[in-house]
């Protein structure tokens, strides 16, 4: 996910519960980030002085010397202490740094991936009433209605053998090819992947057998079958 378009700031300084967080843009060069941080801290030195700042590197892996440069800039320009470095799933740069320290390359051997079980679809055998929330790591099948106020989320497709009147979110982890099937779709809102749709005002055709919602050309469309 690219949060910053080109031409945006090379980094963002945010505040959270524990203090400030510096989040560099994934595509910005280190020189631009250091320059930007220095400028911001000098501009508001009184505001930042003596505070702690975390470095969020989940979007952009860093080399250790880059972290050191940034840390030095923080302390010199604003009297800001580097409190912690946050890293994401990509540990490769940590391995390469440890490897350099040891003088021997570190290599990670993972358990073979295909033994991980495939997530099973969730089957709900009752009506989902207001306040119910169903989450599925795969497909989700509801044998009953989904009433207003209920929420059904699935990483894959959602199939409702009843009326869908509540909120359904198919492809909740970003799968745009996910679909929603129901005997009748008349929800407050439906979501597929990152798109949200509200049904049009006014009457709708009575479904003959069932209805299906899918993404076509960047919008959610409901087809009556």
């Amino acid at each position: 996910m690219t949060m910053f378009s080109e031409g945006g700031p090379p980094a963002q300084i945010k505040a959270d519960r524990d203090g400030f967080v510096l989040a560099p843009s994934p595509d910005a060069p280190i020189s631009a980030i250091v320059e930007y941080v220095e400028k911001r801290l000098r501009e508001s030195r009184d505001f930042f002085f003596g505070s702690k700042m975390a470095l969020d590197l989940r979007e952009r892996p860093f080399r250790p010397d880059e972290i050191a440069a940034l840390r030095q800039t923080m302390e010199e320009a604003g009297g800001v202490k580097l409190a912690e470095v946050r890293i994401g799933d990509d540990h490769s740069f940590v391995f390469s740094w440890v490897g350099q320290q040891l003088g021997v390359a570190l290599k990670e051997y993972k358990e073979s991936g295909d033994c991980a079980p495939k997530p099973q679809p969730v089957i709900v055998r009752t009506t989902c009433r207001s306040g119910a929330r169903v989450e599925s790591p795969a497909e989700c099948v509801v044998l009953g209605d989904v009433n207003p106020g209920a929420e059904v989320l699935a990483a894959g497709d959602i199939v409702v053998f009843g009326n869908l009147r509540g909120m359904a979110h198919a492809g909740a982890w970003g799968d745009r090819s996910a679909r929603i099937w129901a005997l009748s779709i008349e929800p407050n809102q439906i979501r597929i992947a990152d798109l949200v749709a509200v049904p049009p005002k006014g009457g709708k055709p009575v479904p003959k057998r069932f209805e299906m919602a899918e993404i076509r050309e960047d919008r959610i469309e409901v087809t009556t079958m």
Binding site: T126, T127, R129, S130, G131, A132, D145, N147, P148, G149, R165
Partner: protein, 263 residues
């Protein structure tokens, strides 16, 4: 003799739970059953007001569960019917003065002597609700034909199912058939389709309700009151009688008469 424990609940406030408890309870007592009504809305006591018994309260529900009095001492006998009793709630305490286990043992004790134990549930789904439904065999969910009340009723039915209350019935209160006909109000059919529980009765909207509440005399004592008649039918259905539902439907009946005259 093992009676039935029936909780009357709704989720949303102001839909007519207390009125429903007072009227169904009174109607069943009129038919000769031994009935006790428990006000479980601790801190917001009002079943006693609707029953017109406010000035006779000495002990209350919290006193019973805390062992300050026997359950028989806290029961107030109705002014007209000797087989109808009310256990009022405490006005100066909070919901956590009682826990679900205490409600269960109290109701178990009461069902030994009474045919019907009615529990008037507070609005909401927090502690008071959990206390009220703990001992229930049967739940009556009251709703009005408003989207907000129906949404809350749906949530409550879900919670009742999750708490293993086996039997759930629905009463749709304050139905105005004229507005339904004009399409300004949801019809009872739509509500039942959405909530998918068995319908126990339809209570028409009426000004009589306010008058009866203020006087402290339940509607079922008045034979000419339409909601009173509807509540009497609900009570009969609870006894197991089969009374068709559309009879409640005052306007429809009138229409039939009209059609007959028009030929």
């Amino acid at each position: 003799m093992a009676g039935k424990t029936i909780v009357v609940t709704s989720g949303k406030g102001g839909v007519g739970k207390t009125t429903t408890v007072a009227n169904i309870g009174t109607a069943l007592a009129k038919k000769g059953h031994n009935v006790v009504l428990i006000d479980a809305d601790i801190g917001l006591r009002n079943l006693d007001v609707v029953m017109g018994l406010e000035n006779r309260i000495v002990y209350n529900l919290v006193d019973i569960v805390e062992g300050k009095c026997k359950s028989a001492q806290a029961m107030i006998r109705d002014r007209k019917l000797s087989n109808l009793h009310v256990i009022p709630s405490a006005q100066t305490r909070e919901k956590d003065a009682v826990n679900p286990a205490q409600m269960k043992s109290l109701c178990a004790e009461l069902t030994e002597q009474f045919d019907f134990v009615f529990i008037d549930c507070p609005a909401g789904i927090e502690r008071g609700f959990k206390n009220a439904i703990a001992a229930a065999d049967v739940a009556i969910v009251v709703t009005t034909p408003e989207v907000s009340a129906i949404r809350d009723a749906d949530r409550v039915i879900g919670l009742l199912e999750a708490n293993l209350v086996k039997e759930t019935h629905l009463i749709v209160n304050r139905v105005n058939q004229k507005m339904v006909k004009k399409g300004d109000m949801m019809s009872v059919g739509d509500i039942v389709t959405l909530l998918s529980v068995s319908l126990l009765g339809i209570i028409p909207e009426s000004e009589d309700v306010v008058v009866s509440t203020n006087r402290g005399v339940p509607l079922v004592h008045d034979r000419s009151s339409r909601p009173g008649i509807a509540y009497t039918k609900v009570a009969a259905r609870l006894e197991g009688e089969e009374i068709p539902l559309d009879e409640d439907n005052g306007v429809k009946l009138m229409d039939r008469v009209k059609r007959f005259f028009m030929g």
